[in-house]
Symmetry: C2
Subunit: 156 residues, 2 copies
């Protein structure tokens, strides 16, 4: 569990909509829920809601988040923030765009697997996180550390 990151002067409880309930979505839903935020998870595949941990105390909506009716059902118009974290870049982009332009949600973050696509999101003022780039950076860092350790050991 991650410690409460919204301390300080930030509003205590936020209304957060999470689109996608795979590993990442369910992890975020559990953490943010345990921090006292109000969470609604939107997921197309009902069986994925089983990924939600016991920490999760929010609501879930089964449906296609690219449809306005589903977003309205999740009361997206009242959300402080939306996280688009399905496993499909196209869906994340579309939902994030609707959240910004139609519902004017102030904070929209999206997962994007293809690092080459991040530029499109930036133009739309959508904040992106790329697991691919993050992983690559960490692989290279770890590898550097291992090689360094190894050469120090063989020098002894």
């Amino acid at each position: 569990m991650v410690s409460n990151l919204f301390g300080g002067s930030a509003k205590q409880s936020q209304y957060i909509v999470i689109v996608g309930c795979g590993r990442l979505g369910s992890l975020l839903a559990g953490d943010l829920s345990s921090q006292g935020h109000s969470i609604v998870v939107i997921e197309q595949n009902e069986s994925c809601l089983g990924n939600l941990s016991s920490e999760f105390s929010g609501f879930s909506v089964v449906g296609d988040a690219a449809e306005l009716a589903t977003l309205r059902q999740a009361k997206v118009d009242k959300a402080d923030c939306l996280l688009a974290v399905t496993s499909e870049d196209n869906i994340n982009l579309m939902v994030a765009q609707i959240a910004r332009t139609v519902f004017e949600i102030p904070i929209v973050l999206a997962r994007v697997f293809d690092p080459d696509r991040e530029a499109i999101y930036q133009e739309l003022e959508i904040d992106t996180i790329s697991p691919t780039q993050l992983s690559a950076d960490l692989f290279l860092q770890r590898l550097g550390e291992r090689f360094e350790n190894q050469s120090q050991q063989s020098a002894k």
Copy 2:
């Protein structure tokens, strides 16, 4: 491109086998290749080799990395390091295990999507990187920053 992480006292050129040529594998292959390392990429689906960038100057082997014959063709017995980065946790675990036990490769790193599985790898002395956990941590951090900024702006 990532700067050369293997400076200092580490051996200059390493022989690195990368299993999986999706987005992450091809990104790593390009970066490590441009740093002057000898890279062999193993990929089952020949069309994925098209992901390799122009920076890549290594070799590729088309085949199933869970088969010893494929690993031998990639001269895994001579490798300083193996990175198992396919999109399948099971394949990454199997290949990483063979690399450690059969070929005794000193440095083995594996991508694992399911954070709950990391414990299995640790028992086998395989270093793991979980894109899911990495992304969750960064999403929570960014979200905290955004909420903090927002509350500072509304306080003005």
